[in-house]
Symmetry: C2
Subunit: 285 residues, 2 copies
Protein backbone atom coordinates (compact mmCIF):
# COMPACT_ATOMS: atom_id res chain seq x y z
CA UNK A 1 0.00 0.00 0.00
CA UNK A 2 1.12 3.52 -0.85
CA UNK A 3 1.02 5.88 2.10
CA UNK A 4 0.34 9.24 0.41
CA UNK A 5 -0.67 9.14 -3.23
CA UNK A 6 -0.54 12.54 -4.93
CA UNK A 7 -2.23 13.11 -8.28
CA UNK A 8 -1.42 16.27 -10.20
CA UNK A 9 -3.65 17.63 -12.98
CA UNK A 10 -6.12 14.76 -13.19
CA UNK A 11 -7.89 14.06 -16.47
CA UNK A 12 -9.51 10.76 -17.41
CA UNK A 13 -6.47 8.74 -16.34
CA UNK A 14 -5.68 10.73 -13.19
CA UNK A 15 -9.30 10.59 -12.03
CA UNK A 16 -9.33 6.86 -12.68
CA UNK A 17 -6.09 6.36 -10.72
CA UNK A 18 -7.71 8.03 -7.71
CA UNK A 19 -10.93 6.06 -8.03
CA UNK A 20 -9.13 2.75 -8.55
CA UNK A 21 -6.75 3.42 -5.66
CA UNK A 22 -9.69 4.12 -3.35
CA UNK A 23 -11.78 1.19 -4.59
CA UNK A 24 -8.86 -1.21 -4.19
CA UNK A 25 -7.42 0.33 -1.03
CA UNK A 26 -3.99 0.78 -2.59
CA UNK A 27 -3.35 4.17 -0.97
CA UNK A 28 -3.88 5.28 2.61
CA UNK A 29 -4.35 8.92 1.65
CA UNK A 30 -5.10 10.57 -1.72
CA UNK A 31 -4.11 14.19 -2.33
CA UNK A 32 -5.04 15.93 -5.57
CA UNK A 33 -4.11 19.20 -7.19
CA UNK A 34 -5.84 20.63 -10.26
CA UNK A 35 -4.97 23.87 -11.98
CA UNK A 36 -8.44 25.43 -12.04
CA UNK A 37 -9.94 26.55 -8.71
CA UNK A 38 -13.47 25.45 -9.70
CA UNK A 39 -12.18 21.95 -10.41
CA UNK A 40 -10.47 21.87 -7.02
CA UNK A 41 -13.84 22.67 -5.42
CA UNK A 42 -15.48 19.79 -7.27
CA UNK A 43 -12.67 17.38 -6.40
CA UNK A 44 -13.05 18.18 -2.72
CA UNK A 45 -16.50 16.56 -2.84
CA UNK A 46 -15.30 13.25 -4.27
CA UNK A 47 -15.09 10.25 -1.94
CA UNK A 48 -11.80 9.26 -3.55
CA UNK A 49 -10.12 12.57 -2.70
CA UNK A 50 -8.94 13.07 0.88
CA UNK A 51 -7.31 16.44 0.36
CA UNK A 52 -7.25 19.05 -2.36
CA UNK A 53 -3.99 20.98 -2.53
CA UNK A 54 -3.81 24.62 -3.60
CA UNK A 55 -0.53 24.16 -5.47
CA UNK A 56 1.62 21.34 -6.83
CA UNK A 57 4.32 22.28 -4.31
CA UNK A 58 2.08 21.84 -1.28
CA UNK A 59 0.45 18.74 -2.77
CA UNK A 60 3.68 16.74 -2.85
CA UNK A 61 4.96 17.67 0.62
CA UNK A 62 4.29 14.24 2.14
CA UNK A 63 4.15 12.27 -1.10
CA UNK A 64 5.11 8.62 -1.32
CA UNK A 65 4.08 8.46 -4.97
CA UNK A 66 3.29 11.38 -7.28
CA UNK A 67 1.29 10.62 -10.44
CA UNK A 68 1.52 13.49 -12.91
CA UNK A 69 -1.55 13.09 -15.09
CA UNK A 70 -1.08 16.25 -17.16
CA UNK A 71 -0.79 16.22 -20.97
CA UNK A 72 2.65 15.15 -22.19
CA UNK A 73 3.72 18.73 -22.96
CA UNK A 74 3.26 19.82 -19.35
CA UNK A 75 4.81 16.92 -17.44
CA UNK A 76 8.42 18.13 -17.28
CA UNK A 77 7.41 21.62 -16.16
CA UNK A 78 5.49 20.10 -13.27
CA UNK A 79 8.48 17.96 -12.31
CA UNK A 80 10.66 21.09 -12.22
CA UNK A 81 8.05 22.87 -10.13
CA UNK A 82 7.69 20.16 -7.48
CA UNK A 83 11.34 19.02 -7.41
CA UNK A 84 12.47 21.20 -4.47
CA UNK A 85 9.50 20.09 -2.38
CA UNK A 86 9.61 16.32 -2.78
CA UNK A 87 10.45 13.98 0.11
CA UNK A 88 13.70 12.07 -0.57
CA UNK A 89 11.92 8.72 -0.82
CA UNK A 90 9.20 9.91 -3.20
CA UNK A 91 8.69 8.32 -6.58
CA UNK A 92 7.42 10.58 -9.34
CA UNK A 93 5.70 9.04 -12.33
CA UNK A 94 3.42 10.13 -15.15
CA UNK A 95 0.81 8.51 -17.41
CA UNK A 96 1.94 9.98 -20.74
CA UNK A 97 1.77 8.02 -23.98
CA UNK A 98 5.38 8.81 -24.90
CA UNK A 99 8.31 8.17 -22.65
CA UNK A 100 11.78 8.80 -24.15
CA UNK A 101 12.04 12.58 -23.94
CA UNK A 102 9.88 12.85 -20.84
CA UNK A 103 12.04 10.39 -18.89
CA UNK A 104 15.25 12.11 -20.00
CA UNK A 105 14.03 15.59 -19.15
CA UNK A 106 12.22 14.68 -15.94
CA UNK A 107 15.31 12.98 -14.57
CA UNK A 108 17.40 16.00 -15.56
CA UNK A 109 14.90 18.28 -13.83
CA UNK A 110 15.22 16.40 -10.53
CA UNK A 111 19.02 16.45 -10.82
CA UNK A 112 19.03 20.18 -11.59
CA UNK A 113 17.09 20.81 -8.39
CA UNK A 114 19.27 18.39 -6.40
CA UNK A 115 16.21 16.35 -5.53
CA UNK A 116 16.94 12.86 -4.18
CA UNK A 117 13.47 11.73 -5.36
CA UNK A 118 13.21 9.39 -8.34
CA UNK A 119 11.41 9.80 -11.62
CA UNK A 120 10.21 6.57 -13.26
CA UNK A 121 7.80 6.81 -16.18
CA UNK A 122 4.53 4.90 -16.59
CA UNK A 123 2.14 4.46 -19.46
CA UNK A 124 -1.07 2.62 -18.72
CA UNK A 125 -2.54 1.53 -22.08
CA UNK A 126 -6.03 2.49 -21.00
CA UNK A 127 -8.31 5.17 -22.28
CA UNK A 128 -11.64 6.05 -23.71
CA UNK A 129 -13.05 8.40 -26.30
CA UNK A 130 -14.19 10.41 -23.27
CA UNK A 131 -11.95 12.84 -21.45
CA UNK A 132 -11.88 14.49 -18.03
CA UNK A 133 -11.66 13.11 -14.51
CA UNK A 134 -15.46 13.05 -14.21
CA UNK A 135 -15.48 10.26 -16.82
CA UNK A 136 -12.91 8.25 -14.88
CA UNK A 137 -13.60 4.73 -13.69
CA UNK A 138 -12.18 2.60 -10.88
CA UNK A 139 -11.97 -0.28 -13.37
CA UNK A 140 -10.11 1.57 -16.15
CA UNK A 141 -6.83 -0.22 -15.42
CA UNK A 142 -8.26 -3.69 -14.84
CA UNK A 143 -6.44 -6.12 -17.13
CA UNK A 144 -4.79 -3.29 -19.05
CA UNK A 145 -1.15 -3.31 -20.00
CA UNK A 146 0.89 -0.71 -18.12
CA UNK A 147 4.40 0.13 -19.22
CA UNK A 148 6.93 1.08 -16.55
CA UNK A 149 10.04 2.48 -18.19
CA UNK A 150 13.30 2.31 -16.22
CA UNK A 151 16.43 3.48 -18.04
CA UNK A 152 19.98 2.25 -17.54
CA UNK A 153 20.51 0.73 -14.10
CA UNK A 154 17.59 1.91 -12.02
CA UNK A 155 17.02 1.46 -8.30
CA UNK A 156 15.36 -1.96 -8.25
CA UNK A 157 13.24 -1.14 -5.20
CA UNK A 158 11.74 1.86 -6.97
CA UNK A 159 10.82 -0.28 -9.98
CA UNK A 160 9.30 -2.84 -7.64
CA UNK A 161 7.24 -0.25 -5.76
CA UNK A 162 5.83 1.37 -8.91
CA UNK A 163 5.18 -2.02 -10.52
CA UNK A 164 3.29 -3.12 -7.42
CA UNK A 165 1.20 0.07 -7.49
CA UNK A 166 -0.05 -0.52 -11.04
CA UNK A 167 -0.56 -4.22 -10.39
CA UNK A 168 -2.68 -3.32 -7.38
CA UNK A 169 -4.86 -1.20 -9.69
CA UNK A 170 -5.39 -4.32 -11.81
CA UNK A 171 -2.83 -3.76 -14.58
CA UNK A 172 -0.31 -6.11 -16.10
CA UNK A 173 3.04 -4.34 -15.90
CA UNK A 174 5.70 -4.49 -18.62
CA UNK A 175 9.14 -2.99 -17.92
CA UNK A 176 10.99 -1.63 -20.96
CA UNK A 177 13.47 1.12 -21.73
CA UNK A 178 11.70 4.45 -22.49
CA UNK A 179 12.99 4.62 -26.07
CA UNK A 180 12.00 1.04 -26.76
CA UNK A 181 8.56 1.91 -25.37
CA UNK A 182 8.26 4.74 -27.89
CA UNK A 183 9.17 2.47 -30.78
CA UNK A 184 6.61 -0.12 -29.65
CA UNK A 185 3.72 2.31 -29.18
CA UNK A 186 4.53 4.05 -32.47
CA UNK A 187 3.56 0.74 -34.05
CA UNK A 188 0.78 -0.65 -31.87
CA UNK A 189 -0.94 2.60 -30.92
CA UNK A 190 0.15 5.71 -32.83
CA UNK A 191 0.20 4.13 -36.29
CA UNK A 192 -3.28 2.57 -35.85
CA UNK A 193 -4.55 5.97 -34.72
CA UNK A 194 -3.26 7.68 -37.87
CA UNK A 195 -4.52 4.90 -40.13
CA UNK A 196 -8.07 5.21 -38.81
CA UNK A 197 -7.93 9.01 -38.70
CA UNK A 198 -6.98 8.90 -42.37
CA UNK A 199 -9.80 6.50 -43.18
CA UNK A 200 -12.22 8.85 -41.41
CA UNK A 201 -10.87 11.83 -43.35
CA UNK A 202 -11.23 10.00 -46.62
CA UNK A 203 -14.76 8.77 -45.93
CA UNK A 204 -15.79 12.25 -44.77
CA UNK A 205 -15.31 13.40 -48.39
CA UNK A 206 -17.89 10.87 -49.59
CA UNK A 207 -21.71 11.15 -49.38
CA UNK A 208 -22.89 11.29 -45.77
CA UNK A 209 -25.32 8.47 -46.52
CA UNK A 210 -22.45 6.03 -47.11
CA UNK A 211 -21.07 6.29 -43.62
CA UNK A 212 -24.54 5.91 -42.14
CA UNK A 213 -24.59 2.47 -43.76
CA UNK A 214 -21.51 1.36 -41.85
CA UNK A 215 -21.59 -2.10 -40.33
CA UNK A 216 -19.98 -3.04 -37.04
CA UNK A 217 -16.74 -3.76 -38.88
CA UNK A 218 -16.21 -0.14 -39.88
CA UNK A 219 -17.39 1.08 -36.49
CA UNK A 220 -14.86 -1.09 -34.67
CA UNK A 221 -12.09 -0.25 -37.12
CA UNK A 222 -12.55 3.48 -36.64
CA UNK A 223 -13.53 3.71 -32.99
CA UNK A 224 -10.21 5.30 -31.98
CA UNK A 225 -10.60 7.98 -34.67
CA UNK A 226 -12.90 9.68 -32.13
CA UNK A 227 -9.97 10.35 -29.78
CA UNK A 228 -9.04 13.84 -28.68
CA UNK A 229 -7.08 15.76 -31.34
CA UNK A 230 -5.06 17.89 -28.91
CA UNK A 231 -3.81 14.86 -27.01
CA UNK A 232 -2.72 13.28 -30.27
CA UNK A 233 -0.91 16.36 -31.55
CA UNK A 234 1.14 16.31 -28.34
CA UNK A 235 1.90 12.61 -28.69
CA UNK A 236 2.85 12.92 -32.36
CA UNK A 237 5.10 15.88 -31.65
CA UNK A 238 6.99 13.89 -29.02
CA UNK A 239 7.19 10.64 -30.95
CA UNK A 240 7.46 12.05 -34.47
CA UNK A 241 10.55 10.13 -35.61
CA UNK A 242 9.33 6.68 -34.59
CA UNK A 243 5.86 7.34 -36.00
CA UNK A 244 7.31 8.55 -39.30
CA UNK A 245 9.33 5.34 -39.59
CA UNK A 246 6.26 3.22 -38.91
CA UNK A 247 4.08 5.25 -41.30
CA UNK A 248 6.68 4.98 -44.00
CA UNK A 249 6.76 1.19 -43.78
CA UNK A 250 2.97 1.03 -43.66
CA UNK A 251 2.72 3.18 -46.78
CA UNK A 252 5.03 0.73 -48.56
CA UNK A 253 2.81 -2.16 -47.47
CA UNK A 254 -0.37 -0.48 -48.71
CA UNK A 255 1.37 0.19 -52.00
CA UNK A 256 2.40 -3.47 -52.35
CA UNK A 257 -1.12 -4.61 -51.62
CA UNK A 258 -2.57 -2.23 -54.20
CA UNK A 259 -0.04 -3.44 -56.76
CA UNK A 260 -1.03 -7.05 -56.06
CA UNK A 261 -4.72 -6.20 -56.55
CA UNK A 262 -3.94 -4.20 -59.66
CA UNK A 263 -2.01 -7.20 -61.07
CA UNK A 264 -4.74 -9.63 -60.04
CA UNK A 265 -2.05 -11.42 -58.04
CA UNK A 266 -4.51 -13.49 -56.00
CA UNK A 267 -1.74 -15.66 -54.55
CA UNK A 268 -0.04 -12.62 -53.05
CA UNK A 269 -3.36 -11.21 -51.83
CA UNK A 270 -4.30 -14.52 -50.23
CA UNK A 271 -0.93 -14.64 -48.46
CA UNK A 272 -1.53 -11.16 -47.09
CA UNK A 273 -5.10 -11.86 -46.00
CA UNK A 274 -4.04 -15.09 -44.31
CA UNK A 275 -1.03 -13.51 -42.62
CA UNK A 276 -3.24 -10.71 -41.32
CA UNK A 277 -5.75 -13.24 -39.99
CA UNK A 278 -3.05 -15.34 -38.30
CA UNK A 279 -1.65 -12.23 -36.66
CA UNK A 280 -5.08 -11.05 -35.46
CA UNK A 281 -6.04 -14.53 -34.20
CA UNK A 282 -2.82 -14.54 -32.14
CA UNK A 283 -3.72 -11.43 -30.13
CA UNK A 284 -4.70 -12.30 -26.62
CA UNK A 285 -8.34 -11.55 -25.92
CA UNK B 1 -45.02 -13.92 -44.33
CA UNK B 2 -43.17 -15.92 -46.98
CA UNK B 3 -44.85 -19.19 -47.82
CA UNK B 4 -41.90 -21.39 -48.84
CA UNK B 5 -38.44 -20.04 -48.07
CA UNK B 6 -35.66 -21.95 -49.80
CA UNK B 7 -32.04 -21.53 -48.72
CA UNK B 8 -29.30 -22.88 -50.96
CA UNK B 9 -25.76 -23.58 -49.74
CA UNK B 10 -26.09 -22.14 -46.23
CA UNK B 11 -23.02 -20.77 -44.50
CA UNK B 12 -23.04 -18.35 -41.58
CA UNK B 13 -25.51 -16.02 -43.33
CA UNK B 14 -27.74 -18.73 -44.78
CA UNK B 15 -27.96 -20.56 -41.46
CA UNK B 16 -28.81 -17.29 -39.76
CA UNK B 17 -31.54 -16.52 -42.32
CA UNK B 18 -33.18 -19.86 -41.51
CA UNK B 19 -32.87 -19.39 -37.76
CA UNK B 20 -34.12 -15.80 -37.87
CA UNK B 21 -37.02 -16.71 -40.15
CA UNK B 22 -38.10 -19.47 -37.77
CA UNK B 23 -37.62 -17.36 -34.63
CA UNK B 24 -39.60 -14.48 -36.10
CA UNK B 25 -42.18 -16.61 -37.95
CA UNK B 26 -41.47 -14.93 -41.26
CA UNK B 27 -41.74 -18.14 -43.32
CA UNK B 28 -44.36 -20.85 -43.17
CA UNK B 29 -41.98 -23.51 -44.46
CA UNK B 30 -38.18 -23.60 -44.71
CA UNK B 31 -36.47 -25.85 -47.28
CA UNK B 32 -32.68 -26.10 -47.38
CA UNK B 33 -30.20 -27.64 -49.77
CA UNK B 34 -26.50 -28.07 -49.02
CA UNK B 35 -23.92 -29.53 -51.36
CA UNK B 36 -22.42 -32.10 -48.98
CA UNK B 37 -24.59 -35.11 -48.00
CA UNK B 38 -23.27 -35.16 -44.42
CA UNK B 39 -24.31 -31.52 -44.00
CA UNK B 40 -27.76 -32.34 -45.34
CA UNK B 41 -28.06 -35.01 -42.65
CA UNK B 42 -27.13 -32.49 -39.95
CA UNK B 43 -29.52 -29.88 -41.31
CA UNK B 44 -32.41 -32.34 -41.17
CA UNK B 45 -32.07 -32.33 -37.37
CA UNK B 46 -32.39 -28.55 -37.00
CA UNK B 47 -35.67 -27.13 -35.69
CA UNK B 48 -35.41 -24.31 -38.23
CA UNK B 49 -35.30 -26.71 -41.21
CA UNK B 50 -38.59 -28.27 -42.34
CA UNK B 51 -37.21 -30.11 -45.34
CA UNK B 52 -33.80 -30.94 -46.70
CA UNK B 53 -33.68 -31.15 -50.48
CA UNK B 54 -31.38 -33.51 -52.35
CA UNK B 55 -30.70 -31.02 -55.14
CA UNK B 56 -31.09 -27.29 -55.84
CA UNK B 57 -33.62 -28.15 -58.55
CA UNK B 58 -35.97 -30.04 -56.22
CA UNK B 59 -35.42 -27.52 -53.44
CA UNK B 60 -36.91 -24.62 -55.40
CA UNK B 61 -39.95 -26.44 -56.79
CA UNK B 62 -42.46 -24.61 -54.54
CA UNK B 63 -40.31 -21.64 -53.68
CA UNK B 64 -41.77 -18.24 -52.88
CA UNK B 65 -38.31 -16.86 -52.06
CA UNK B 66 -34.94 -18.46 -52.78
CA UNK B 67 -31.95 -17.19 -50.81
CA UNK B 68 -28.69 -18.27 -52.42
CA UNK B 69 -26.16 -18.16 -49.61
CA UNK B 70 -23.20 -19.57 -51.58
CA UNK B 71 -19.88 -17.72 -51.99
CA UNK B 72 -20.04 -14.96 -54.61
CA UNK B 73 -18.24 -17.07 -57.21
CA UNK B 74 -20.94 -19.76 -57.17
CA UNK B 75 -24.12 -17.70 -57.13
CA UNK B 76 -24.68 -17.33 -60.87
CA UNK B 77 -24.10 -21.03 -61.53
CA UNK B 78 -26.78 -21.87 -58.99
CA UNK B 79 -29.18 -19.41 -60.61
CA UNK B 80 -28.59 -21.13 -63.98
CA UNK B 81 -29.13 -24.51 -62.38
CA UNK B 82 -32.45 -23.68 -60.71
CA UNK B 83 -33.85 -21.37 -63.44
CA UNK B 84 -35.91 -24.01 -65.31
CA UNK B 85 -37.45 -25.23 -62.05
CA UNK B 86 -38.58 -21.98 -60.45
CA UNK B 87 -42.25 -21.10 -59.99
CA UNK B 88 -43.18 -18.00 -62.03
CA UNK B 89 -43.81 -15.90 -58.94
CA UNK B 90 -40.58 -16.83 -57.17
CA UNK B 91 -38.06 -14.20 -56.14
CA UNK B 92 -34.43 -15.27 -56.17
CA UNK B 93 -31.94 -13.35 -54.09
CA UNK B 94 -28.44 -13.83 -52.68
CA UNK B 95 -26.42 -12.53 -49.73
CA UNK B 96 -23.17 -11.77 -51.55
CA UNK B 97 -20.99 -8.79 -50.64
CA UNK B 98 -20.76 -7.59 -54.25
CA UNK B 99 -23.74 -6.96 -56.47
CA UNK B 100 -22.99 -5.43 -59.90
CA UNK B 101 -21.78 -8.45 -61.85
CA UNK B 102 -23.92 -10.92 -59.93
CA UNK B 103 -27.13 -9.00 -60.63
CA UNK B 104 -26.25 -8.60 -64.31
CA UNK B 105 -25.37 -12.27 -64.79
CA UNK B 106 -28.14 -13.70 -62.61
CA UNK B 107 -30.76 -11.75 -64.53
CA UNK B 108 -29.23 -12.90 -67.81
CA UNK B 109 -29.27 -16.50 -66.55
CA UNK B 110 -33.03 -16.36 -65.84
CA UNK B 111 -33.68 -14.79 -69.24
CA UNK B 112 -31.56 -17.42 -70.97
CA UNK B 113 -33.70 -20.13 -69.42
CA UNK B 114 -36.93 -18.24 -70.14
CA UNK B 115 -37.73 -18.20 -66.45
CA UNK B 116 -40.43 -15.71 -65.43
CA UNK B 117 -39.00 -15.64 -61.89
CA UNK B 118 -37.19 -12.50 -60.73
CA UNK B 119 -33.66 -12.04 -59.45
CA UNK B 120 -33.15 -9.19 -56.99
CA UNK B 121 -29.87 -9.01 -55.10
CA UNK B 122 -29.46 -8.54 -51.35
CA UNK B 123 -26.48 -7.82 -49.16
CA UNK B 124 -27.07 -7.93 -45.42
CA UNK B 125 -24.16 -6.11 -43.77
CA UNK B 126 -23.88 -8.72 -41.06
CA UNK B 127 -21.16 -11.18 -40.32
CA UNK B 128 -18.76 -12.55 -37.81
CA UNK B 129 -15.19 -13.78 -37.73
CA UNK B 130 -16.83 -17.21 -37.51
CA UNK B 131 -18.05 -19.13 -40.54
CA UNK B 132 -20.48 -21.97 -41.21
CA UNK B 133 -24.20 -22.38 -40.60
CA UNK B 134 -23.56 -23.95 -37.19
CA UNK B 135 -22.31 -20.53 -36.02
CA UNK B 136 -25.43 -18.78 -37.31
CA UNK B 137 -27.69 -16.80 -35.04
CA UNK B 138 -31.36 -15.81 -35.20
CA UNK B 139 -30.28 -12.29 -34.17
CA UNK B 140 -27.58 -11.78 -36.80
CA UNK B 141 -29.71 -9.40 -38.85
CA UNK B 142 -31.22 -7.45 -35.98
CA UNK B 143 -30.56 -3.75 -36.57
CA UNK B 144 -28.16 -4.50 -39.44
CA UNK B 145 -28.22 -2.63 -42.71
CA UNK B 146 -29.38 -4.79 -45.61
CA UNK B 147 -28.92 -3.58 -49.17
CA UNK B 148 -31.55 -4.58 -51.72
CA UNK B 149 -30.33 -3.74 -55.21
CA UNK B 150 -32.93 -3.22 -57.94
CA UNK B 151 -31.62 -2.11 -61.33
CA UNK B 152 -33.41 0.01 -63.91
CA UNK B 153 -37.19 -0.12 -63.52
CA UNK B 154 -37.86 -3.14 -61.35
CA UNK B 155 -41.20 -4.68 -60.48
CA UNK B 156 -42.17 -2.62 -57.44
CA UNK B 157 -44.07 -5.48 -55.81
CA UNK B 158 -40.95 -7.67 -55.92
CA UNK B 159 -38.88 -4.96 -54.26
CA UNK B 160 -41.58 -4.55 -51.64
CA UNK B 161 -41.76 -8.28 -50.92
CA UNK B 162 -37.99 -8.69 -50.54
CA UNK B 163 -37.70 -5.51 -48.48
CA UNK B 164 -40.42 -6.77 -46.17
CA UNK B 165 -38.61 -10.11 -45.77
CA UNK B 166 -35.38 -8.51 -44.55
CA UNK B 167 -37.26 -6.04 -42.38
CA UNK B 168 -39.07 -8.95 -40.77
CA UNK B 169 -35.67 -10.46 -39.91
CA UNK B 170 -34.85 -7.21 -38.09
CA UNK B 171 -32.80 -5.39 -40.74
CA UNK B 172 -32.97 -1.84 -41.98
CA UNK B 173 -33.29 -2.05 -45.78
CA UNK B 174 -31.56 0.35 -48.18
CA UNK B 175 -32.43 0.17 -51.89
CA UNK B 176 -29.65 1.18 -54.30
CA UNK B 177 -28.52 0.28 -57.79
CA UNK B 178 -26.14 -2.73 -57.78
CA UNK B 179 -23.19 -0.73 -59.16
CA UNK B 180 -23.71 2.07 -56.67
CA UNK B 181 -23.78 -0.61 -53.96
CA UNK B 182 -20.38 -1.85 -55.09
CA UNK B 183 -18.90 1.64 -55.00
CA UNK B 184 -20.28 2.21 -51.49
CA UNK B 185 -19.05 -1.07 -50.01
CA UNK B 186 -15.66 -0.66 -51.68
CA UNK B 187 -15.29 2.35 -49.38
CA UNK B 188 -17.08 1.38 -46.18
CA UNK B 189 -16.26 -2.33 -46.10
CA UNK B 190 -13.62 -3.53 -48.57
CA UNK B 191 -11.17 -0.67 -48.04
CA UNK B 192 -11.32 -0.97 -44.21
CA UNK B 193 -10.69 -4.70 -44.59
CA UNK B 194 -7.55 -4.14 -46.65
CA UNK B 195 -6.30 -1.36 -44.37
CA UNK B 196 -6.49 -3.59 -41.30
CA UNK B 197 -5.15 -6.63 -43.15
CA UNK B 198 -2.16 -4.50 -44.11
CA UNK B 199 -1.68 -3.31 -40.54
CA UNK B 200 -1.74 -6.92 -39.39
CA UNK B 201 0.80 -7.91 -42.03
CA UNK B 202 3.09 -5.09 -41.03
CA UNK B 203 2.86 -5.79 -37.31
CA UNK B 204 3.42 -9.50 -37.91
CA UNK B 205 6.97 -8.59 -39.04
CA UNK B 206 7.68 -7.01 -35.63
CA UNK B 207 8.55 -8.80 -32.36
CA UNK B 208 5.68 -11.02 -31.20
CA UNK B 209 5.86 -9.36 -27.79
CA UNK B 210 4.73 -6.03 -29.26
CA UNK B 211 1.39 -7.29 -30.45
CA UNK B 212 0.77 -9.00 -27.12
CA UNK B 213 0.89 -5.52 -25.58
CA UNK B 214 -1.99 -4.32 -27.73
CA UNK B 215 -4.65 -2.26 -26.00
CA UNK B 216 -8.33 -2.39 -26.86
CA UNK B 217 -7.78 0.28 -29.51
CA UNK B 218 -5.62 -1.97 -31.67
CA UNK B 219 -7.87 -4.95 -31.01
CA UNK B 220 -10.94 -3.05 -32.20
CA UNK B 221 -9.11 -1.54 -35.15
CA UNK B 222 -7.98 -4.92 -36.43
CA UNK B 223 -10.90 -7.16 -35.49
CA UNK B 224 -12.00 -7.59 -39.11
CA UNK B 225 -8.49 -8.68 -40.12
CA UNK B 226 -9.52 -12.09 -38.73
CA UNK B 227 -12.06 -12.56 -41.53
CA UNK B 228 -11.92 -15.51 -43.90
CA UNK B 229 -9.30 -15.08 -46.65
CA UNK B 230 -11.12 -17.12 -49.29
CA UNK B 231 -14.28 -15.06 -48.92
CA UNK B 232 -12.26 -11.88 -49.34
CA UNK B 233 -10.39 -13.06 -52.40
CA UNK B 234 -13.76 -13.69 -54.07
CA UNK B 235 -15.05 -10.27 -53.06
CA UNK B 236 -11.90 -8.48 -54.22
CA UNK B 237 -11.95 -10.30 -57.53
CA UNK B 238 -15.52 -9.17 -58.19
CA UNK B 239 -15.10 -5.60 -56.96
CA UNK B 240 -11.50 -5.03 -58.01
CA UNK B 241 -11.97 -1.78 -59.94
CA UNK B 242 -13.90 0.04 -57.24
CA UNK B 243 -11.57 -1.19 -54.52
CA UNK B 244 -8.53 -0.09 -56.51
CA UNK B 245 -9.98 3.39 -56.86
CA UNK B 246 -10.66 3.60 -53.13
CA UNK B 247 -7.22 2.20 -52.23
CA UNK B 248 -5.56 4.66 -54.54
CA UNK B 249 -7.23 7.63 -52.88
CA UNK B 250 -6.48 6.25 -49.43
CA UNK B 251 -2.82 5.84 -50.33
CA UNK B 252 -2.75 9.51 -51.35
CA UNK B 253 -4.30 10.48 -48.03
CA UNK B 254 -1.77 8.46 -46.02
CA UNK B 255 1.00 10.08 -48.01
CA UNK B 256 -0.35 13.59 -47.28
CA UNK B 257 -0.59 12.79 -43.59
CA UNK B 258 2.98 11.51 -43.51
CA UNK B 259 4.18 14.62 -45.32
CA UNK B 260 2.41 16.81 -42.77
CA UNK B 261 4.06 14.92 -39.89
CA UNK B 262 7.41 15.04 -41.64
CA UNK B 263 7.04 18.82 -42.05
CA UNK B 264 5.84 19.27 -38.48
CA UNK B 265 2.72 20.82 -39.95
CA UNK B 266 0.70 20.61 -36.73
CA UNK B 267 -2.11 22.75 -38.15
CA UNK B 268 -2.68 20.29 -40.97
CA UNK B 269 -2.41 17.33 -38.61
CA UNK B 270 -4.89 18.88 -36.20
CA UNK B 271 -7.32 19.48 -39.06
CA UNK B 272 -7.05 15.83 -40.04
CA UNK B 273 -7.42 14.50 -36.50
CA UNK B 274 -10.44 16.75 -35.90
CA UNK B 275 -12.07 15.87 -39.22
CA UNK B 276 -11.59 12.18 -38.46
CA UNK B 277 -13.14 12.63 -35.02
CA UNK B 278 -16.11 14.60 -36.39
CA UNK B 279 -16.70 11.90 -38.95
CA UNK B 280 -16.48 9.09 -36.38
CA UNK B 281 -18.71 10.91 -33.90
CA UNK B 282 -21.33 11.23 -36.65
CA UNK B 283 -21.71 7.46 -37.17
CA UNK B 284 -24.94 6.19 -35.75
CA UNK B 285 -24.36 3.88 -32.81
Amino acid sequence: MVDTLVILAPGLLGGSVAQAARARSTARRIVIWARRPEVRLQLADQPWCDEVAESPETAVRDASLVVIAAPVTRIVDLVLQIAPHLPATAIVTDVGSVKGEICRQARAALLAENSPATFLGSHPMAGSALTGWANGSPDLFAKCICFVTPRGEPDASVVTRLTKFWQDLGSEVICVDPDEHDEIVAHISHLPQLITTTLGNFLSTKPVKWSQLAGNGLKDTTRIAASDATMWIDILAQNRDEVLRALNSYEDEIHRLRTALSNRDWTELRTRLERGKTWRDSLRT
